[in-house]
Amino acid sequence: MTLFGIRIPMMMSLVMWAVLWEVVGRLDLIFLIPPMTSVISAGMDLVQTGSWQNATLITLRSFVFGMALAIVVGVPLGVLMGRVRIIDNIFGLWVNMFVSAPLSALVPILMILFGLGETTVFVTVFLFAVWIIVLDARAGVMQVPPSLIEMGRCYGASRWTIFSKIVLFSALPEILAGIRIGLIRGVKGVVIGQILVSIIGYGELFELYSRSFDMERFWALTLILFAAAMLLSAAVELFEKRIEYYAGAR
């Protein structure tokens, strides 16, 4: 970005907003926005507390397990839907419904089913992430160029070999894109799940800080979450780029 002929680094916009936040905070206009500097120092203190570390552990655990299950279930289901008409007919409608449904509304039902604990959060993460992984894997498998499959048949590949050596590799970029979006949705899932359950992990901390109007810590926790989600997405994107490198010219 250039302004008045001067090149401005990308991070500038972040810095400008932080400065604006600081100014508004210092003016003491509303208690909701404490100065940025005190949010950051609250964050520094926060990460050293046992309650934060414990909450992070619980959050990570639900997230990792939920995501792992979403990938293990989602990719094969999507691939099967892309290859087998009957399976596509059975699951297609449901997957499309759930991918756009407001799943937060289901969390109270999950609470009744799985109790007020980590299991509910884990299931929430799974439900938030799995559908887009299914749809992208399905799309990836379905848009394998027909000539590549003919090529495999022509040179004597069995059905299984065509699937394992051609279809899966050809669908890999879409499968990874689905997993990346799934990860971002999973982060939403873990936070929403915990906030609704509200007695474990970050949900408990958010509940505590907002009840006691401890806005410094509230914002510090929010910023940590934002940063974590962005880093996660960037990491997968980096991995995707390496795959794209050789699947590039499609």
Binding site: L148, E150, R153, G156, S170, G248
Partner: protein, 268 residues
């Protein structure tokens, strides 16, 4: 120029020849209500390059894919080396219009893929692949990926892959249609060199009259809706002449003109 052995069976043209490697017997193909091919009787001579030429919609690619065993025929049968075939087989190799290269694999692996599918050990198939990569003029590009190559170079990979499996019959489906004009001419010259070098049977599909006349020993003209054989032409061009002389040769130009006269009724 001479007209080939032609006979009429049930009002249809039939083409026969000595020492046929591929025999197309009474092939018909329907897609639902649409009749794509009707009563095709055609023999392909061993060691020659035969071109299927015709306007779009004449079923030339369909016929080629039926010969390849990729598309089932609605009626009739295909014989290769005197055996009836119903699916793809190692004696036939296919070159695709859109190249059909695996974007995640290097040139080397793409060229050796046919051998990989047959379980040939890596050292052996890389040796064979390297030889054909060199023969199609891609030496030095072994470790490149398809997206790093131009369209013409990609099709050279496709051709090297077909050569590497050492099939008797090479089936080429409009291989140069996605290649720009300058490269296409170079390609046609290289193809003639490879035909001469490899002593294989080529079945070539194209919609370019000039290309067909330039490269073919025999041209089979198909007419559309439904696809039938309408004419057979043996161009009889002296291939020892230089490419530029061939393209200026009166026989070459007359053959192109004659085919155009036969096809113009189908042009919109």
């Amino acid at each position: 120029m001479a007209n080939a052995a032609l006979s009429r069976t049930q009002g249809q043209l039939a083409v026969t020849c000595e020492d046929a490697i591929v025999q197309v017997r009474d092939i018909g193909k329907n897609y639902g209500d649409v009749e794509a091919l009707r009563g095709i009787n055609l023999e392909f001579q061993r060691g020659k390059l035969t071109t299927l030429l015709g306007p779009s919609g004449c079923g030339k690619t369909t016929l080629l894919k039926i010969i390849a065993g990729l598309v089932p025929a609605s009626s009739g049968e295909i014989c290769v080396n005197d055996k009836v075939v119903t699916g793809p087989g190692p004696e036939r190799a296919f070159v695709f219009q859109d190249f059909a290269l695996m974007p995640w694999a290097t040139v080397m692996r793409n060229v050796g893929f046919g051998l990989e599918l047959r379980g040939v050990p890596a050292i052996e198939r890389n040796r064979v692949a390297r030889r054909y990569i060199e023969q199609v003029g891609l030496a030095g590009f072994e470790e490149k990926y398809p997206h790093e190559l131009s369209g013409g170079m990609r099709q050279r990979v496709g051709i090297a892959r077909a050569f590497a499996v050492n099939a008797d019959v090479l089936l080429l489906d409009e291989p140069f249609s996605a290649v720009d004009e300058q490269n296409r001419r170079k390609f046609q010259e290289d193809l003639l060199r490879l035909v001469d070098l490899e002593k294989k049977t080529f079945i070539f599909v194209t919609h370019s009259i000039e290309e067909a006349v330039y490269v073919s020993d025999r041209i089979v003209l198909l007419s559309p809706r439904p696809g039938r054989i309408s004419q057979v032409i043996d161009p009889m061009i002296d291939r020892t002449a230089s490419p530029d002389d061939i393209r200026r040769d009166a026989g070459y130009l007359n053959t192109v003109e004659e085919i155009w006269q036969g096809l113009r009724q189908y042009a919109e």
